[in-house]
């Protein structure tokens, strides 16, 4: 079966396979800007994203069977031109991201963000679809590029689209919250450009495969400082302690589908960039970067989850759990062992899906009750048992309860940590699991148990998102159920999936095939 599909994937030229996830959504965005009729505009992403998903699946099959696929943009040979590279990690993350983007698109259409009647919402729709496609392009672009400066460009594409989406239907107060996000992101961009400048100054190249060899010749002090600066730059996007403060302040103001995508994907792109750069171009600095990452991971885990416990709003609780659990992924990387990195990759896949799911469910709750505040919602299970199930499954998974995806990913990390004897971080990870369960149980006990509460009227009836309407469109529920099922598929496919993660991790730590594919 896999062989047949891989053979099929081999019939497509590599340039098409690798370039499509970046270029097709941009083309779609351009079309969506030109063809503004509601039906047409909506059809474009609904066509583009499935094609991207198929393409990403084909990429994954190819990369897994034949090793990394490198394409030189404009046929300018590396390190002279720009390389796009799809290895196991890139294509796996692209695939998972596109699946999530597809489901959330359907959810957004169901919610009416993308498609509503009055003039104001109409304007929202016109902007939403192009911006969403540009975001999709930016995300896969970030995963697939093999060039440090191009990674910066990919980040900008993704971030600019995210600025548009986060302010899309905001009132003045929400714009002010979004400003935190935008200004911090801009500072991160400035620092990113700075570090690219420094890297170029020290080596004369920005091609990542080339940098591996070039940086090996650079004196240790400069190389280490560049590695650490890159960790900080990407750590801002990834929401690592102490660089995450912007996230819980800004994510909760966006409408549910936007937050859902941000929660699942944007921080993960940052973590991906840390993993890629630290394993590919700074392999000789792990003696220092490992412990540094470990400390950052531990602090992120703990401070993040304490933040979640202190919140009184579901959106904010969930936002803090994003932060906290980034610590799990970074912890896996920090071991710099195959088991650790494989655990990090598995955790990333799990977290993309589960965190998105939870924000989708939050949107359903808000739609139904009119608020996200725990002190004003109660007794949801009495109103809708289905909603209870849709929340409980991903919440248990997030808390790492077996047999769900979070458990497998956590188990992989704990085994990896125990194998290298990192008892402090392992103990901390276990503690954070307990506290995550506590935070989820606080939501459950408060919002889902108790006497059913009254509906809170829509605080901002002018914006496009209608809340507090008791009923939930079937499309939204169906999309949420679909992403819950995707989450459930992870443990079912746990054997082959983790085997793939192990191979991806071995690739990352060896890096030979990647460099060879790019530089020839």
């Amino acid at each position: 079966m896999t062989d047949v599909l891989t053979g099929l994937a081999r019939t497509v030229p590599a340039g098409v396979l690798v370039g499509l996830p970046v270029l097709l959504p941009l083309l779609g965005a351009a079309l969506a800007l030109l063809l503004r009729r509601a039906g047409t505009q909506r059809a474009i992403p609904l066509l583009v994203l499935p094609v991207m998903a198929l393409d990403a699946a084909a990429l994954l099959l190819r990369a897994d069977a034949d090793g990394p696929l490198a394409v030189q943009a404009g046929n300018w040979d590396a390190p002279f031109g720009i390389s796009l590279v799809a290895d196991r990690l890139s294509s796996l993350l692209t695939l998972v991201s596109v699946i999530v983007l597809m489901v959330v698109l359907v959810y957004a259409i169901g919610q009416g963000v993308a498609d509503a009647a009055d003039e104001r919402s109409d304007r929202v729709r016109v902007v939403f679809h192009p911006a969403y496609l540009v975001l999709a392009s930016g995300v896969s672009f970030s995963f697939l590029t093999g060039d440090l400066f191009n990674l910066f460009v990919a980040f900008e594409v993704m971030l600019t689209a995210s600025y548009v989406l986060i302010t899309l239907q905001a009132g003045p107060s929400a714009v002010r919250s979004a400003m935190t996000y935008i200004v911090v992101s801009l500072l991160a961009s400035v620092l990113f450009v700075t570090v690219i400048g420094l890297v170029y100054a020290a080596t004369g190249t920005v091609n990542m495969a080339d940098l591996r060899g070039a940086l090996a010749e650079v004196p240790g002090g400069v190389r280490l400082s560049l590695a650490l600066l890159l960790i900080v730059v990407f750590g801002i996007k990834a929401a690592l302690f102490p660089l995450y403060f912007w996230l819980p302040d800004s994510y909760p103001v966006a409408p549910a589908p936007v937050t859902a995508v941000f929660a699942g994907l944007l921080t993960k792109v940052g973590v991906y960039a840390i993993i890629r750069t630290q394993t590919l171009i700074f392999p000789d600095d792990t003696a220092v970067t490992g412990p540094v990452l470990l400390v950052l991971a531990g602090a992120t885990l703990l401070v993040g989850i304490l933040g979640a416990i202190a919140q009184n709003e579901i959106k904010r609780v969930l936002s803090f759990t994003i932060v906290s659990h980034i610590g799990f992924i970074v912890m896996g990387l920090a071991f710099f062992t195959v088991a650790g990195v494989a655990g990090a990759v598995l955790y990333m896949v799990h977290h993309i899906v589960i965190q998105t799911t939870l924000f989708c469910v939050e949107g359903l709750i808000e739609r139904r009750t009119g608020t996200s505040r725990l002190d004003r919602i109660s007794g949801l299970t009495h109103r809708s048992a289905l909603l209870g199930v849709l929340f409980a499954l991903p919440a248990l998974s997030l808390a790492g309860i077996p047999p769900f995806s979070g458990f497998l990913a956590k188990l992989a990390l704990l085994q990896a940590g125990s194998a290298v004897g990192s008892w402090v971080i392992v103990g901390l990870a276990v503690l954070v699991s307990l506290l995550t369960l506590y935070s989820m149980a606080l939501i459950w006990g408060s919002a889902f148990w108790g006497s059913p509460s009254d509906v809170v009227p829509d605080e901002d009836p002018e914006d496009a998102v209608q809340v507090g309407v008791r009923t939930v469109p079937a499309t939204m529920t169906a999309a949420t159920a679909a992403v819950v099922l995707v989450g459930l598929a992870i443990p079912v496919l746990g054997g082959p999936l983790y085997a793939l993660c192990l191979r991806a991790a071995a690739d990352l730590l060896a890096a030979g095939p990647y460099v060879e594919a790019v530089l020839g």
């Binding site: 689209a161 020290a202 600066l229 933040g307 704990l414 148990w449």
Partner: protein, 798 residues
């Protein structure tokens, strides 16, 4: 075995779906699940009792050594009989107990899922799989305890049970991972057969035992169990008496053959067990709620079980096996009795129940049998079990065994005391008030419920109790029926030789004498119950409250919540300047630390080409300083523009006119836009305190100096030629253009340019939408200011 687990899963879903239609009768359907467990036990019994365990393996995640490995040996068989046998009766009982309006869907589905998790737990041979089912029981227990979710105490109890058992569970997971790594196998049976050793193994075992002790409600983790009585009574009977709480004891018994000889094992576990036994018994004697009485009695018996199971000799293993069965039958029967009484009288307060025994004679007799079995009265299974316990400890060597034996005898006396108190409270008539202080008298303002006030419980509520009591009698009279089972359970222990023969009468042995002593003291305790109650109250007043583990739990949760508030309040200030400061400092100090650690030369080849560059540099620096110092927004904008123009001038000097042109354009545009925005803003910046100014200055200087150092270091180390030289060389022949920058932008690195164009376009799109939205939304709001500001950094030359 897999089929039985699948049956539980399937029936859980089915029961949930059928419950709205069938009502409580859905439990009859669900009862097929535990029944399948009974069938499995019967089918496997001949092989297992002959020493041939059933096994089944299906790989799950090979990379993590995670296998669905099931193994049915004698101990598992014993547990399976308890879990599924007692479970079947409880499911049937539920069909009569549950009201139509109780949350039946959740109840039926979750209870079935729990039964499945419990079966999985006792069958799991892979340590991680064991944990999977272990947590599954925790979660289902949480949902079942919180079944009356509109009741605040139920929610608190559910949370407490969840947190305490998950705390233990996670510790256990960690312990199991380490244990498996040290042993080189994840199979429980193999680990116990060839136990690893070393300091890590000890730590791992302690973690695993933490899981066992929390699950089985041992001191000091016990308070969750009495609190969990907020669950419906059949749930308590199943989870918190017969099945789930035995998981800890089961795990201790599982590990004991391999590890009981470790020096710390017996002193630790037996002490904890006996302490729990005494504390549970003591507390039990003070309860007025029949269910709470039973709950503390369960705590006490779990202590008893833990102590016996942990002893880990062949004799004690026999005793533990018998005790598990005896307690499972008796305690389930007594809980179900409480449920039946509650159902009939609508109260469980023993001070209010008056002479109910006359109204429900069958139930009273069956409950009496069960209570006496619990107390270890002859002719009942509990007696046989207790005899074996006494024998095992009496024959063991060492002073610790003697001390433990004394503790167990004392605990058994208390057991008889509360068994008697239960029977007296549930069924006996109230005596006339005598004037003397009686803690168990009808409280003021309440009215006793007399026999004539209640209806008799239905057959569906009585029959399961009778069956359980009958089992206690049958096995008590003919204990030899259990010979094969207990022999097989004891087989893995060192020193297990010939098959065990259980009998009612062993002759006059030390154990018998101890039994007589226990009975005598127990009867005395029941007879003197009023004076004993007063004594307990006075003792309780003297004990410090710090010893109350429940308060410790509350304080811990409160402490956690407060810590979360404090930490979050400190870090999440909401101040953007502070966030930016932290980020900028991190980006400076961390790399500088790296530089300091490994050392670096700060010797770039060329710093200044021409003297005029120094002049421009000074101008830029002064303009930046002025921008930072001025209090007028207008001046600040102009000064920033000055910085930009200065940089552009440097480009000109460097021979990059197109770059300089771009920079000039961007700066001019920025200044113009800023000036437009200034109309909407106050003329001056808000006044800052001196401290805040100093702090900002310090951050700015640190970042500036740090970045300079990094730049100097990075530009000092170039060894290779840069790709730029190749750009220049290939621009004309391959790119077809004389202007290198143009060729780079549109050809060599055209993909970058595509991205940047997208950025500009999408930014413009977003901006227009934002401006339109905000203008319609609230005219005159400060939104446009935000909107325009964000444009500036976007317009960036690639």
């Amino acid at each position: 075995m897999l089929a039985v687990l699948a049956a539980h899963a399937g029936l859980a879903v089915l029961a949930g779906l059928l419950a709205p239609r069938l009502g409580p009768r859905a439990f009859y359907v669900a009862a097929l699940a535990p029944l399948s467990g009974v069938v499995l036990a019967l089918a496997a019994a001949p092989d297992v009792l002959a020493g041939r365990a059933w096994g089944r393996e299906v790989p799950w995640v090979p990379g993590l050594d995670l296998t669905v490995a099931l193994r049915l040996d004698a101990l598992s068989l014993l547990m399976l009989v308890l879990v599924s046998g007692v479970g079947t009766l409880i499911f049937l009982y539920c069909a009569s107990y549950a009201d139509r309006d109780s949350p039946l869907v959740r109840f039926a589905a979750t209870l079935t899922a729990f039964a499945g998790a419990m079966v999985g737990l006792v069958l799991a041979d892979d340590v991680i799989l064991l944990y999977v089912f272990w947590e599954a029981t925790t979660i289902t227990s949480y949902l079942l305890v919180g079944l009356s979710d509109e009741d605040r105490t139920a929610r608190r109890a559910a949370m407490q049970a969840l947190l305490i058992t998950t705390l233990g569970g996670l510790a256990m997971l960690l312990g199991l991972i380490v244990l498996a790594q040290q042993a080189g196998t994840t199979r429980l049976s193999e680990i116990v057969a060839e136990p690893p050793s070393g300091a890590l193994v000890t730590a791992a075992l302690l973690l695993v035992l933490l899981g066992a002790l929390t699950k089985s409600a041992q001191v000091p983790f016990h308070p969750w169990l009495p609190a969990a009585m907020a669950a419906p009574t059949p749930v308590s009977a199943y989870l918190h008496a017969a099945a789930m709480v035995k998981a800890g004891v089961y795990l201790v018994a599982r590990l004991a053959p391999g590890f009981a000889e470790l020096s710390w094992w017996r002193p630790l576990l037996v002490s904890v067990g006996i302490a729990t036994m005494l504390l549970g018994g003591w507390r039990s004697l003070r309860q007025h709620d029949l269910k709470s009485l039973m709950a503390y009695s369960t705590v006490s018996q779990l202590g008893f079980l833990t102590a016996v199971a942990a002893w880990g000799s062949a004799e004690s293993a026999v005793a533990a096996a018998l005790l598990l069965l005896a307690h499972g039958f008796a305690k389930a029967a007594l809980f179900l009795t409480v449920g039946a009484v509650d159902h009939a009288a609508h109260t469980r307060d023993l001070r209010l129940l008056d002479g109910l025994g006359r109204r429900m004679p069958v139930l009273a007799v069956a409950a009496t049998v069960a209570a006496l079995s619990l107390g270890g009265v002859p002719l009942l299974l509990g007696f046989i079990a207790k005899e074996e316990v006494y024998t095992a400890f009496a024959e063991a060597e060492g002073t610790f065994a003697t001390v433990a034996l004394a503790g167990l005898v004392l605990g058994s006396v208390l057991t008889l005391g509360y068994a008697g108190r239960f029977l007296w409270g549930a069924f006996a008539g109230r005596p006339q008030p005598s004037g003397a202080e009686d803690l168990d008298a009808v409280p003021a303002g309440e009215r006793a419920v007399a026999a004539q006030d209640v209806h008799a419980p239905g057959a569906g509520l009585v029959a399961p109790v009778v069956v359980l009591a009958a089992a206690a009698v049958a096995l008590g009279v003919l204990p030899a029926l259990l010979d094969p089972l207990v022999s097989a359970v004891a087989a893995p222990y060192p020193g297990a030789g010939e098959p065990v023969h259980l009998a009612l009468w062993h002759g006059v042995t030390p154990a018998l004498l101890l039994s007589v002593l226990t009975l005598a003291l127990g009867v005395a305790l029941v007879a003197a119950r009023r004076r004993w109650g007063l004594l307990q109250r006075s003792v309780g007043r003297v004990l410090p409250q710090a010893l109350d583990a429940d308060r410790t739990y509350d304080a811990a949760v409160y402490g956690l919540d407060s810590a979360a508030d404090v930490v979050t309040g400190r870090t999440q200030s909401g101040s953007l300047p502070r966030y930016l400061g932290v980020i900028a400092l991190s980006a400076t100090l961390l790399p500088l630390g790296g530089l300091a650690l490994r050392g670096a030369d700060l010797a770039p080849g060329v710093i200044v080409d021409r003297p005029v560059q120094i002049g421009v540099g000074v101008v830029i620096a002064l303009a930046a300083l002025a921008a930072a110092r001025t209090s007028s927004r207008f001046a600040a904008v102009l000064m920033l523009g000055g910085v930009g123009y200065g940089v552009a001038a440097l480009y000109v000097l460097q021979g990059a006119p197109d770059l300089a042109l771009t920079q000039f354009l961007v700066e001019t545009l920025s200044v113009v836009i800023f000036l437009l925005v200034l109309r909407l803003l106050p003329r001056r910046f808000p006044v800052q305190t001196r401290r805040s100014r100093l702090r900002r200055a310090a951050v700015a200087v640190t970042v500036g100096v740090g970045m300079t150092v990094l730049t100097l270091a990075a530009t000092s180390v170039r060894v290779r030629p840069s790709v730029a030289e190749e750009f220049v060389a290939r621009s004309k022949p391959e790119g077809g253009g004389l202007n290198v920058v143009n060729v780079i932008l549109v050809d060599f690195r055209g993909l970058d340019t595509l991205g940047e164009i997208t950025v500009v376009l999408i930014a413009a799109l977003g901006m227009s939408s934002l401006v339109l939205t905000l203008r319609r939304g609230r005219p005159g709001a400060d939104g446009p200011h935000d909107a325009v500001r964000r444009e500036e950094p976007e317009v960036r030359a690639p």
